[in-house]
Structure formats: C-alpha cells, structure tokens
C-alpha cells in the first residue's frame, strides 16, 4: 500500500470513528437514573364500569407490592392513545401493566411494545378464545382479563329470535312502539360502530378479515353476502328499525333500554347485571342469533417494564378462579378462566341493595351460559394496524349505508381495496372510500 492509500485509510477510519461518536452522543438514551425506580406496579386502565366498583374491591384485597391503578379516561380512544404513546417511550416506562382492549393487543405486540409472556407463565384453564386474543405471531404477549361478547337483550314481552331473519321483523315491529328504536346497537362514531357493523355483516355470512389477517370481503361468495348485508342495513336505517343506534354509545343505549325505550338491545355482558339491579324493565337475555364480535380486555406487561415477575404475580392473582367469579358476579366481567363458568355464586353483599332484584345464582348462571355459548363463533380481526383498519372500515360502510344510491359489487371491491391498504397501516389522501 502506498503512502497515499495509507493516509486515505487513516482518514477514512477517523471519519468513521468521529461520525459514530457524534451519532452515538446524539442518539444516547436518557440516563437510566431519570426513570422512576420503585416497587410500585403502575397499571394503566380505563374506568371501572362494573356495578359497585367490583374491580376496585378486588384490587384493594391484593396483598403484594403496591398496585397503583391510573385511570386514563373513560373515552376508549384517549385510553388507547395514552397507552400507545407511553409504551413507545424509551427507556423509561410510565406504566408496567396495561389493561388493554383485546382489539389493540396485536397492534401493541407487533410494534414491540409488549413483553412476551413466557410459555411456562401462561396459566392453564384459560378460555381458548380469550387466551388466543393475547397472541401475536405465535407468541403470547398478553393474558386475558375479561372477555366480552355481544349479547341480545329483549323486552320480556318480545319473542326470542333464533335467526337474524326472525329478529328484524320483530325489531321493526317493536320500533313502532319504542321511541328509541326496535333494535339498539352502539353505532356512534367510535369503535363500537366497528363492532356493531362487523356483527351486522356477519349476520349475512360476510367475512371481512379471515383468520390469517387477509381482507376477503371482495372474494366470492363474501362479496355477494356483504352487498346483501349493506342493502339490509340501508333498509333498517331508513325504516328506523335501528332507531337512535347511530348516535348511541354503550351508556346511552343501556340507559335507553333500561327506561323501556327500545325493544331489542345488543350489548355486552355487564349490561345484564346493571339491568337486573335497575329493575325497571322486565327483560330476557340470549345469545345473538348469529356470530358475535369478540371484545374484552387483556393484561399486557410493557416491553420495558423492569418488574415482570411482580407484575405477573398480580396478573395471576386477577386470574384466580375465585377472583374471576367475583368479578363476574359483582361486575358482569365475562370470566376468562374456564373454572369460573362453574359454581357461579352471587356477589357478596348483593342482598343489601334496595331496588330491583339482586342477581341470583340462576341469573348469573344464565348469563354465564349465554357468554359461553357465544364464544365459539365470536371473533375480532387481529391486525397489526387495527386502529387504522377500524377507522377505514366504519367510514366506508357508513358511507354506503347512508349513500343516496344503492351500493354495487364494485363498491364492495372499493371497500376491500381501502381495507387492504388500511390493514398495512397506509394512509390514502382524502376521506376513506371518498
């Protein structure tokens, strides 16, 4: 090597070294000593929707390291946004455990924001659908906390439908005498609309996303079924069978049904206990006449939490069959442990309530059966970019439900194309399906 080449090599080495040092200094993470370092397990959650705060009571009885529940917001979107932003932090973590919506679990796991639960740490006896909701790419990233499925509540004087084809005429008829609607669902502009619309599409056999996470809406015979479902939705919208569903969330629709304002109500299991406690409207409960959308929440340890073992102990405490039974009996949280569906007992202290009839063990057993019967066919798309998918899905379907012209198969193709981009997390200019 000549002197010039040696000089060039030395210069290049110096350039590489200096650049790496500069970049290293610029990119260095915040010193670890700035992170909060204590034994407190910080849990990010929404608010407790159960009657009498059953979840709070359970956490009060926990004897391990101090658990601090931080209620972010009762607005699901804000809860999601805060959890996601906090989990993206590096290296410190504001929260050790997230009580996260099942639908969001894949999103967090795929982004590397959750700690994998070691296989030996996964308790046995979990409800399969609930356990699988915490899996991504073959690994367990979250354990289930409570499982929700859509259930059908009806006024006691209305017939029990065994199919959607039976339900709609009955609901239309009920709508004539119930001021809030014949069939109430939660179709306000939020995640509830995605849930409700998925159920209505599946009522006609249309699958939007298959088990592999692929968009199959435009594949035969799905496309024809989806088109039929869309046309029926337009019908129920125009003849007011769906009533105020398009502006209702969970609380509004439940309150409307409780005061006798609706014939049929699609709602989550916890509504059963609230309606029993309320006692104003005699009602009956059954599974939906078709597949329900799977809901609920999971317990996910954040990837950078340094308290895996302690957090796991707390998680396992929440999953003890007796605690799951109590959450179910007192709060209406669908159990995620098989054993909790057996030996269902009443909530301790329930007889102290003065109005309505406290849920009896028969009531609770009936609810448990309805949940269990619904679970085998209950699904929810498991997608890396579920939030984007959900936004686009409900925007597109809503557009065609309210469009002046009848939708066609081409429109189903447009929806599928938009969903195909959305599931990859891509944005498109303008409004979805615009």
């Amino acid at each position: 090597m000549t002197g010039s080449w040696r000089a060039a090599a030395v210069g290049a080495a110096a350039g590489v070294l200096l650049t790496l040092v500069v970049v290293g200094v610029k990119e260095r993470p915040a010193p670890a000593e700035q992170c909060v370092d204590d034994d407190v397990i910080r849990v990010a959650t929404g608010d407790d929707v159960s009657v009498g705060g059953a979840r709070r009571e359970l956490i009060r009885r926990w004897k391990g390291p101090l658990v601090q529940m931080i209620e972010i917001s009762r607005v699901a979107d804000l809860k999601h946004d805060e959890m996601l932003a906090a989990a993206q932090a590096d290296p410190c973590q504001a929260y050790d455990l997230l009580i996260i919506d099942m639908a969001s679990t894949a999103e967090f796991a795929a982004a590397g924001l959750l700690r994998e639960i070691r296989p030996e740490d996964v308790p046995s006896g979990l409800v399969p659908q609930a356990r699988e909701s915490g899996q991504w790419d073959g690994k367990q990233y979250a354990l289930p906390f409570e499982v929700d499925v859509g259930l059908l509540y009806r006024r006691a004087d209305l017939p029990k439908p065994t199919s959607w084809d039976q339900l709609w005429p009955a609901a239309r008829q009920a709508g004539a005498t119930n001021r809030r609607g014949g069939y109430l669902a939660q179709l306000d502009e939020y995640e509830g609309r995605t849930v409700g619309l998925l159920e209505l599409l599946r009522a006609y056999g249309a699958t939007v996303v298959d088990g592999d996470g692929e968009i199959v809406l435009d594949q035969a015979p799905n496309d024809q079924r989806a088109l039929a479902a869309l046309r029926w939705m337009r019908q129920w919208q125009s003849d007011q069978t769906l009533g105020d569903s398009w502006k209702d969330k969970e609380a509004e629709s439940l309150a409307a049904f409780a005061e006798g304002g609706a014939g049929y109500l699609r709602h989550w299991p916890y509504a059963d206990l609230q309606l029993i406690n309320d006692g104003r409207t005699p009602f009956a409960l059954s599974k939906l006449p078709g597949p329900a959308t799977l809901g609920g929440s999971n317990l996910a340890i954040t990837a950078r939490s340094t308290k895996y073992d302690n957090v796991l102990k707390f998680v396992k405490y929440l999953l003890q069959p007796d605690n799951q039974r109590q959450l179910f009996a007192c709060g209406g949280y669908g159990p995620v442990v098989e054993a909790a569906y057996e030996d269902v007992g009443v909530c301790p202290g329930a007889d102290a309530r003065e109005t309505g009839t406290p849920p009896t063990s028969v009531d609770l057993q009936r609810l448990a059966s309805a949940i269990k019967d619904s679970l085998p066919t209950a699904t929810r798309p498991k997608l890396e970019h579920y939030t984007r998918f959900s936004e686009v899905f409900r925007a597109c379907v809503t557009k065609y439900v309210f469009a002046a012209e009848e939708p066609t198969l081409d429109d189903i193709g447009i929806i599928a194309d938009e969903l195909g981009a959305a599931k990859l997390g891509r944005t498109e200019e303008g409004e979805p399906c615009g």
Partner: protein, 709 residues
C-alpha cells in the same frame, strides 16, 4: 441502435468471451491506457468503491430532505435512485469487467440494453468514470498524503451516513415492493383550548398524510384533546398530572388529561403561568417554541342582534358597547374565566387596572348570563348557531376571529359538527380585547419520551408555523392573513394586517385571584347518596359515578383558603352518617372509596340532620348528590331545621334517571320554599347538548354564586 460506446476501457467488458479465461485477472495483468506506471497496480474493487460509495452516500444524505419535500421531492429521489443504480451497474461493468459465469451473463445481459437505452449518456458516464479515475490517480500520488487523508475522511463520514440512512431506505423500498405493513406511527398527544381542537385535528391529519413515506406509511398520528382549566393544570403539575381530587388515593388515581407532548396555549402569559407550576419538578420539562398562529378576540353578533343594529355601527369602547347591548336587552357573554383560557385572556381586556370587588361582582354576573354553555367559546357558538334558524337568539359573544370564520364557513367546531347553510355571525371590534397568540410548547415527560418523539414534535412545529392553520381562519404568527377571501378583521383593515390589537398582556395569577374574589367565600357540605340504587346504570356509567364526578368538579372549583368543604354520606333508614372528611384532600380521598349498598333514606330527614352542621359558617350551602330516592320524609322537621341556619341554601343534584318533577321531590322543594332547589346533572338531562357533563355542575355553581347574599 448502433453501439454508442467509444470507450477503449469498455470494449473488453462488452466483448469479453467467458470461455476465453478470467476477465478480472486479465484486467489486473494488463495495464490500461493512461495508467500511471508509478502507481500500484489498479485494484478494480477499490476503484468501484471509491467512485460509487460517495455517490450513494450523497444520495443517502439528501434522502431525508427529499422525501420530506412532498411529491416533487419523492419523484426526484426515485429518479436519482434509479440513475444511481444504473450508474453503479455501469461502473462495475466498466471497471471490473464482466466476470465469468452466471453473474457475468446477468451483468452482460443487463449492461447491453442499458447501454443501448442510455445512448449518449454512456459517453458522459465514461467521461465521468475517466475523470474519477484521474482523480484517484491524483490522490494516489505519494506526494499528496494529506489530500488523500482528507478525502478518505470525507468518504468515511459519508459511508457511516449511508449505513445509518440506507437501512431504513432499503426497508422502505422493500416494504413498498413487498406490501409489508408499516411501522407503528408515533403517537403524539396534543392539548389545547377547546376552541382549537377541530382545526388542530384537521391539521394533524394533513401533516400525517404529507409526511408519510413512499408507501403511504404515516410517521405520526395525533390525538388532540381539550385542555382542563388553567387552574387545574397548575394544580396537577406537581401531582404527576393527576386529578388533584384523586391524588390522595394510593391505589387509584385519575389523569386530568392525557400526558401532552405538545401544548398550544393561547398566550405567552398563560403558558408562563402553567410553566411556573411545573418549574423544578424534574419529571417534565417545558420547551417553548415560536408561536404558530394568532387570532384576534372580537364580539360576535347573532343574526337576530345584527338585525336590531340595522345600519349603525356599535360603539367600539367597552362602556359604550355594554350600554348599547343593555338598551336592546342583550347580554355580552364571555366564556367563563375560571374554566376557559380564552375567557381569562378576554377578561384582561374587560377589567380595568383598579380592583373593586363590588364592581367586579357586577361585571362577572353580566358576563356570565344564565343557561348558556360557557365552558368554552366553541360550545357557546354551537349553542348560538342552533338558534340561527329561529332568528330569536339575540346574543353578543366574545370569541376568537377564527371561530367566527369557522361558523360562517360551516366548518366543524369540535363541540358540534359542520353547520347548516344558514345566516352567519357578524363581528365587531371592541377596544382592549387582546389578540390570542398561539404558542407551541414541547412537554418532555421523563418517563414518556424518546428521541424520535422529540424530532417529530419539532418537525410538526416547523410545519405548523408555515401558516398551516390559515384554512381554519387563523392568521400567521405575525397577525397577517394571506387568504384571498375576506377575513372578519381583514375586511376592515385595508392592509390585511390583523395585529392592531396588542398581544395578550395577561397576568393570569393576579386575574384568577381577582375574579375569584368576585365569587363569595362559601362553606359546602357535600351529601352523597350511597344507597344500592346509586349503582344503577345511567348515561355515562352509574348514578354513584356521576355523583363522584360531580363532586370532583365541585372540589376542583374551590379556591384554596376561601372555600370550605365537608363530606357525609347517607343510606338506609338511619339517614345521614357522620362527617367523613373535611377539606379538599380528605374529601377527594373519601370519594374514591364510596360504594353503593343499603337502602334509600328519606331526603327530608337527611337534610334535617345535615343543616345544623353548617350553623355559623359563612355562606352555607348543602349540595346533595342523589338519584332521588323515593321518599321526602318528615318535611316539617326539615323546614324547621333549615330555617335555623342563617342564609342556608340547598342544591339537590339528581344523578340518576329521576326528574325534579317526581312527586316526593316536588313536595320537598315546595315545603322548603326558595331554600331548596333541584337540578338534574345526569347527561340525559343536560340542558344543552353542548354542555359537557362537568358543566352541568358548573352551571349550578354559577347559579349559587349569582344568588349569593
């Protein structure tokens, strides 16, 4: 097309015969024309690296600005990348010659059409290659080690940049080709006054779209939430952003809002007020950046009021304006100063320098008309817009110019969706009303940060500062509107300059204290119904949750050192329990522990037991939060007990589904006379759809204050 290659160097490559031996070794063994015999034998790999690496490094270095430069930048990048790729192949083919075997056939097969396609470009490429080789030779002279070292240094720097920048670019390119999912975008949380939420949401979407990569993958995603009152933000600063009402619970806490990465306050003064509360906390830092927009405060008239004005112009001075509005029996409404940042800033222009408590009380009553949603200007305008159709709502409102624009352009106001095509607002100047200057503050939470977040927050500021809020009626940071269509103030000012009003010169702490004195010192006894029926569902949760949040709102409004508060609960026939807590901290801690159990207590009996506890306290008020129960109880005993406490007032706030016209409640209220008033605070009973649930409690607190002796 004839072979345009005149290069003697290229000829052997394109004419090489794989069967005839090793082309590469032939290159090494046969000196080329023009080689310096004094230099070491040419190393083709080295030559290729020296030529190609800096070029790719340069492309890597300019990739980020090109990709950020919108469509044009992306196209330039793609073209440059393609050219670079072709150039690389060509340089390899020229300098290494074509190797044997399958690789050689591929290169040869690729090279021929490329050469044919580029035609004369090939000459240029060869010339460049020659020039570069000449440069290499020049560098290679043993007499120039310093120059060689310097060039090596530059190449080293560029190589690192290429490695660091090239990875993501290759990943984006592959992702584009293979349709792989995008990375999760960074979640950025923005906090601002309710008046800005809709515009910033729309701007955030635009930014996310514009800054998406080649695949359409957004780098960021925004959530925009309305900020809590300034006083609450200030109080939450040293409580880790938790609701002060939940701070004393070790197991349950509630955030006052999401942790913002970006806060856009409406003036430098209000930003400074909150910043001081965070000073020296360590867990969060404020980084103030330049303002991104401005908007002047104006007085908006509803069409009905404008019609009464006719062709006249209203006075522009405050006394004159108030006198004229009084003459037409129309209130001048301002968002409440204790709830709204804009309301506080507007007050700086409405209140004189000299404090006079009795005048201040009169002014506050005048600026706070009853039955209007006054938590923020957007809610107020939503309410007013609904009245346009009837043409009867005669109202003057102090609101920002951009919201007048939004109403008249039928834009989304945040609190209500896009409006109908109806008559719009008119607007008038009022001397002394300040211009809002929207600062941009980066908040860096120690346990919620990373470097990418910081870069994204800064990039968004730089983008937003380019007058990106103009489509929503804002002016740029200098107060100028460059929009071609008329703006409220721009129409009146020939130059288009809107910053004739001085930037807000507010002293928030002093003003909050001063306006606080305009509200009388009060002693509150909170009575919370904990009977089992409080666990019943209502809109938004249970009646007990509603009672808890209502009580929390009341606690947040209390002023340290001026108001007092106690808590007691009631259920069962035993009626009222003992006083559980005294003071804001204790009461808030107890509220977290309440659970519904037991039976209804007759409301009159509970009030009879409660009244004596407020004897001899200043301005005594009982606030009873209940779902209404079922019995009035012993009314005579209640009336006697209430009369014994001088100045006592009772607010019966219904948190369940019962209404104030239920028989037992009507009987109770009638027996007590004016002392007891009933109001529903559950969402379903809200008096206006634009009033947030907390505002129902605020409305009652306003009424209590207006009625104070």
């Amino acid at each position: 097309m004839p072979d345009p290659d005149p290069s003697p160097n290229a000829t052997p490559a394109t004419q090489s015969e794989p069967q005839g031996g090793n082309a590469a070794s032939a290159t090494q063994s046969k000196p080329q024309e023009g080689d310096d015999p004094s230099a070491s034998p040419s190393d083709p790999l080295k030559d290729v690296a020296v030529i190609v690496t800096p070029l790719w490094a340069f492309l890597g270095a300019v990739a980020a600005p090109l990709l950020d430069g919108g469509e044009v930048g992306r196209v330039v990048f793609i073209v440059a990348a393609v050219v670079m790729l072709v150039l690389t192949v060509v340089v390899v083919a020229v300098l290494i010659r074509v190797p044997e075997g399958a690789v050689g056939r591929v290169v040869e097969g690729l090279g021929k059409p490329l050469r044919a396609f580029f035609g004369r470009v090939w000459d240029v490429v060869v010339s460049v290659a020659k020039a570069v080789k000449t440069a290499i030779k020049w560098v290679s002279r043993p007499t120039r080690p310093l120059t060689a070292g310097a060039l090596g240094f530059v190449a080293g720097v560029l190589a690192v940049v290429l490695v660091l920048q090239g990875g993501p670019l290759v990943r984006i390119g592959l992702g584009w080709a293979l349709s792989t999912p995008c990375d999760q975008p960074l979640e950025l949380r923005m906090l601002t006054s309710a008046e800005n939420v809709a515009a910033l949401q729309a701007a955030g979407h635009r930014y996310a779209d514009e800054s998406a990569d080649l695949r359409g993958c957004p780098r960021v995603r925004f959530s925009v939430t309305p900020q809590p009152p300034l006083a609450t933000m200030s109080q939450a600063a040293n409580k880790e952003w938790n609701d002060p009402a939940s701070w004393n619970s070790s197991t349950y806490r509630a955030l006052i809002a999401v942790h913002p990465d970006i806060w856009i306050p409406s003036s430098a003064a209000t930003e400074e007020y909150v910043r001081q509360a965070f000073a020296n906390l360590g867990q969060v830092t404020f980084e103030r950046m330049t303002p991104v927009a401005t908007s002047a405060l104006l007085v908006a008239f509803t069409p009905a009021l404008e019609a009464r004005l006719g062709t006249r112009s209203p006075p522009t001075d405050l006394p004159g304006m108030r006198a004229w509005l009084k003459s037409v029996e129309t209130p001048l409404a301002r968002p409440r100063a204790d709830l709204s940042e804009i309301g506080l800033i507007a007050s700086a222009g409405l209140y004189g320098a000299a404090e006079n408590i009795s005048e201040d009380i009169d002014d506050e009553i005048a600026y706070t008309p009853p039955d209007l949603p006054l938590s923020d200007a957007a809610s107020l305008l939503c309410h007013a817009r609904d009245g346009f159709d009837t043409g009867k709502e005669s109202l003057a409102m102090i609101v920002p110019e951009h919201l007048i624009y939004a109403v008249n352009k039928h834009q989304d106001l945040g609190a209500c969706p896009q409006g109908r095509q109806t008559a719009g607002l008119s607007w008038h100047r009022l001397d002394g009303l300040p211009t809002l200057s929207y600062r941009y503050v980066r908040l860096k939470w120690a346990d919620q940060w990373n470097d990418a977040r910081e870069r994204a927050v800064i990039d968004f500021h730089d983008w937003l500062a380019q007058d990106k809020l103009a489509p929503y009626g804002y002016r740029d940071s200098a107060g100028v509107s460059d929009r071609k269509e008329p703006m409220p103030l721009g129409r009146e000012l020939g130059s288009g300059q809107a910053d004739s009003a001085e930037p807000a010169t507010v002293e928030p702490a002093r003003l909050i204290d001063r306006l606080g004195k305009a509200h009388p010192e009060t002693s509150f006894l909170l009575l919370v119904d904990t009977s089992g029926s409080m666990g019943n569902p209502i809109t938004g949760g249970t009646a007990l949750q509603r009672a808890g949040s209502g009580a929390g709102t009341l606690l947040r409004r209390l002023r340290d050192g001026r108001d007092r508060v106690w808590l007691a609960t009631f259920s069962d026939s035993g009626g009222l329990g003992k006083t559980l807590a005294t003071g804001t901290d204790q009461v808030s801690a107890w509220l977290e522990t309440l659970a519904a159990a037991g039976r209804d207590a007759p409301l009159g009996d509970v009030l009879a037991q409660a009244a004596p506890r407020l004897a001899d306290t200043p301005n005594p008020v009982v606030v009873m939060l209940t779902d209404g129960a079922h019995q009035a109880g012993d009314r005579d005993r209640m009336v006697a007990a209430l009369r014994k406490v001088k100045g006592l007032r009772v607010r019966l706030l219904l948190t369940g589904e019962q209404r104030c016209d239920a028989d037992h409640i009507k009987l109770l209220v009638k027996a007590a006379g004016k002392v007891v008033k009933c109001a529903p605070i559950s969402r379903a009973e809200a008096s206006t759809p634009y009033r947030p649930p907390a505002d129902e409690v605020d409305k009652e607190l306003t009424e209590l204050w207006r009625e104070s002796p």
